[in-house]
Symmetry: C2
Subunit: 204 residues, 2 copies
């Protein structure tokens, strides 16, 4: 990267280049864009990030981010509080919410059991999940975890802690071939699981 002939510019580019997937060239594009903006536009950019950082909280129930005490999902009376969907991170909540297919509550683990990265059960929000599962209204726990060894391990660890609770149904999201995918190009593991976990045909 060439010298930018301005220390101020260089510093701002360095900071933007910290963003995930952003190199020096993209960072420079962003900074030059900001440089052309009116001061009040740059201020609202800065303010939005500052407000977020200063005022955002963690929902004490599901560990989602929240503007108030309980998050919007936990405090929504229209959501079905008998089902808890267990996910790794807030991104997974967003992905599931985007489907509009789920109307229950969530529980964010904040990660996944991974001996390789030194993440054990104690590092995750598992005990608070077990507490929530004790509530009489909770009837089902759905695991929506990655289809990886770590995801399976995490699910199995929590399953062992919960399986004695008779009133509780424990499920996991279906794993199979993606909608629109050619059978031919589906990997063997996925295809194998799809056959094992076949469901009755309803014509849809």
């Amino acid at each position: 990267m060439q010298s930018l002939s301005s220390k101020l510019l260089e510093k701002a580019v360095e900071q933007f280049a910290l963003l995930p997937g952003v190199g020096k060239k993209t960072a420079l594009k962003y900074v030059l864009f900001m440089l052309k903006k009116k001061p009040e536009e740059v201020n609202s950019f800065l303010q939005s990030l500052q407000d977020l950082k200063n005022n955002i909280r963690e929902c004490p129930q599901c560990h989602n981010i929240s503007d108030n005490n309980l998050c919007e999902i936990c405090s929504d009376p229209k959501r079905d509080n008998s089902v808890i969907c267990v996910v790794e991170s807030i991104k997974d909540i967003m992905a599931i919410e985007a489907t509009s297919q789920y109307h229950g509550l969530y529980h964010i683990l904040g990660g996944i059991i991974s001996p390789m990265e030194g993440i054990g059960p104690a590092d995750l929000h598992i005990s608070s999940l077990l507490e929530r599962a004790e509530k009489p209204e909770v009837k089902e726990i759905i695991f929506a975890l990655s289809a990886t060894i770590e995801g399976d391990t995490t699910g199995y660890y929590i399953y062992k802690k919960l399986k004695n609770k008779e009133s509780l149904t424990i499920t996991t999201i279906a794993k199979g071939i993606s909608i629109g995918n050619d059978l031919e190009y589906t990997d063997e593991l996925t295809l194998g699981r799809s056959i094992l976990h076949r469901v009755s045909y309803t014509g849809n």
Copy 2:
């Protein structure tokens, strides 16, 4: 885009999505990254942009950005002040500086003559260029403008204003096939120009 279940988050994502080439999804990635950072890290990000915006100036000579009065290039005694390279924007200076092949000064026009976008000569830093060209030490003006109709028009407009000054050489950067490009895949216009503007063969 799904609801983000937090107004603060939504606002920050909206602001990041204003950056060029950044959609809501990438903006969300950036914001979640910032959310995980320590407060002091976010502060240095914010501060760098604020400092840049508050303290950056325009070089009164070449219109480059500058931390002080004259920019780093104009104030560098090692640069050759007999040559001025005329460019459209600061990005072009960076591109040329990256080649390490040029050691003269620059002049940023701040755009290019474009009747389509309503940009005329009066909107560009042309009069200050003409003033600079009057200085006795200036011997050559190089046009490093886009190889487009607008670039050619802009160059020709300035050329007409300068051509009566006998002591001044006016040049333009070479246009031809790119290094490493196959002749076969070079467009006809470029190839045609390359033949017209052929140079004597030196074996390099």
